[in-house]
Symmetry: C2
Subunit: 472 residues, 2 copies
Amino acid sequence: MSGTSDTYLYEQIANDLSRAIHKGVYDVAQKLPSLRYIREQYEVSMATVIQAYQCLEQEGLIESRPKSGYFVIQGAKEPLDEPVVTQPKSSPTHVNVGHLAMSLINETRQLGMVKLGAAVPQPELLPLGSLSRIMAGIARRKNRALASYEQSQGNPELRKQIVHLMRESGVRCTADDIIITNGCLEALSLALRAVAKMGETIAIESPTYFGVLQVIESLGMKALEISTHASTGIDVQALTQALKARKMAACVLMPSFNNPLGSTMPEDNKQQVVALLAKYNVPLIEDDVYGALSYEPKRPKSAKAYDLQGNVLYCSSFSKTVAPGLRVGWILAGRYQEQIKYQKFLDNISTAIHPQLTLAEFLSKGGYRRCVRHSARIYRQRMEQLRRWVSDIFPQGTRITNPKGGFLLWVELPKTCDSMELYRQAMDKKIAITPGMLFSAQGQYKNHLRLSCGAVEGEQARKSIIMLAKLL
Amino acid sequence: MSGTSDTYLYEQIANDLSRAIHKGVYDVAQKLPSLRYIREQYEVSMATVIQAYQCLEQEGLIESRPKSGYFVIQGAKEPLDEPVVTQPKSSPTHVNVGHLAMSLINETRQLGMVKLGAAVPQPELLPLGSLSRIMAGIARRKNRALASYEQSQGNPELRKQIVHLMRESGVRCTADDIIITNGCLEALSLALRAVAKMGETIAIESPTYFGVLQVIESLGMKALEISTHASTGIDVQALTQALKARKMAACVLMPSFNNPLGSTMPEDNKQQVVALLAKYNVPLIEDDVYGALSYEPKRPKSAKAYDLQGNVLYCSSFSKTVAPGLRVGWILAGRYQEQIKYQKFLDNISTAIHPQLTLAEFLSKGGYRRCVRHSARIYRQRMEQLRRWVSDIFPQGTRITNPKGGFLLWVELPKTCDSMELYRQAMDKKIAITPGMLFSAQGQYKNHLRLSCGAVEGEQARKSIIMLAKLL
């Protein structure tokens, strides 16, 4: 890899060709344009073009035939439709998914399980070697760090480093705007407790990450599911109507690479929603935990980037990008900053110091961007494969989302399928998927499931998909 | 030090002599019994007797005169009275100390501050070298640990080790009865949220550690302060009457080496209170964070040791004994175990893995007991000194507690003194004390203060006490 700009270019080329193949511009068995032609078109080096073609080859879209060039082998088949826009009921619901979610999480922790539904990254894609060396060094050099309570707000060096990350999502802030948490779930829980009380209503996407549903449930709040589009996220119109219709205490969204949909709100929608919620004085809690894992060279802006009034509480973590075991996340809480800083102190005084120091050093050395870019490339290839296998093998009428980042995929099975039943049968075969009903407070999505290419790849993934199709 | 049994014996001898000196059995300038006499009385080695005398010498109670023996130089003076048994109002109160506590904590974090009120241990007394070596080794050997979410309940090895610690406090349990938390405050917060709801009443000692008051406040609960004795802890009679008079959701106690009193409930009282609360079906939340730092060779039993019905939620941590920066504590939640396990998952999925692995290895190597015994011996000496200086220098009418463990001391100044005013003046002199009113929901203890010999010793401590006396 020669440098940043070329890296982006080869991805751009691969993306363009991949899109053309999927649209049927190049048919199966058809020869692709020559390397020289592409080089001239894009005005890049030959190495860059070769890299783009190799990338498509790895994805299984094309093959190289000696002395003849590259040929399409896959993908000209009409892709599956997206799941329909969800139409949840328009009344707030008490949530009751917590214990089901918990028992499923525990079941799928068994050894030897193929984790085809888990929102966990692949260990091999994490910078474990660097982190370990850094942590060992810190343990030796900074043993006095253990002797005192770290600042409740979090280690200042780490917060400085996060300021740079925030800039990539379009947010300008200072280290003082950031509070370090034990992962993103703690950030979300702090945010919800700061802005809403027991009995109050929280607007959420439908489907929504079950962790958010569980926290809403445990706090005795009610969830109001809002109609959500499989690729563009929450329906702005539906949210507007809901805001007009009833009082809400907060809105929780995952605007980029949504869990479970994989959807990403267009920038305009983000801007509109932030303005809309500010107008109704409803705080927006933004979960951006997958935001950095963009398949495009540039990550999308966060909703927080459009926040003019401190009304957005931005939550994220390093659990999907660097290492879940570190348990380090952060929150920018806008006008709730002081309140949440205080609550963080009350919850557990501060986050452990060594994971914070380790991350601060890792980030300062510049390893983060390379690592995230690399992971995102791999996830993109796996996602392509996963989508193709589901398209090819799952029953007719199946619909799937088309994520532009992260590693989660949402599948809508034909209405007659029961994903809870599929889950149980698959568990017998040591394959763990995540059934759709975990993602709704209203008991919806009985024929949906979340798949993940975070921790499963290649032949193992393909065989698991074939097995699921058999069970269906 | 020749071994465990001898260690205990020399402490026993030193304790007995110290008590005799304080009672006036041996007057100032009087010669102590000969080493040989003591050796015969206790049937121990001469080395053990010498160690006991050296210990008293270090405490400044006696001095050795060449060829003449050991003579009393201090302490025969009548010791100060204990603070009176507290008489709080008998109605539940909304708590409102949180922000005062927080601003004081932040103020006292300034560099160069003599921390004479902070409940923090001395870095030099913590096993930082061992911990660092262990953590560096783990970072290198177990880098895969970072790649996944640790069990929400906590690392199994660490929980096994804690089973042994629990046995020393009289509790028989299994690793499955334990949940690892981010320190003791998280454990207390989990416990309170599990057993009580907004608006409900929590019975507490008066005075009570302000962290507990802050958590009660943040959860919108009410505090009912119960009359408490300076050396024997909560007044069982008063608690009984309160239980008869009104409905309570929980009772929070620190039965051993209480913060701030230093009081320890006699075993009988612990047993009675546990039975009493079980009879009224009121869960007991026990904070035992100082329990291991006993000045006697054997630590007192915990209240949990008398729990027959799973009604006691036992909370502790390694922050006062091993290292606050690790942020590792634990809870045994009795019949609330499943509920709290689930809530811990929702709060932050799990505690960071490296601090847990480090502690597990440290405990398994047996360094813990030696380290805690050593710290407790040092704290005992410092406490003796601190009490003597306060006795000698503070204004007439001052009363102080006489802790048998930990490093916290409670001082009752004459009624005309204002400890908040003293706090402010002392801050100008770079001395941080903790004013009494932080420890009451009713705004009591305006003429009280908490002192700590955790992080201050010797000449610095003495000079600070002299300065405080001047300000008074």
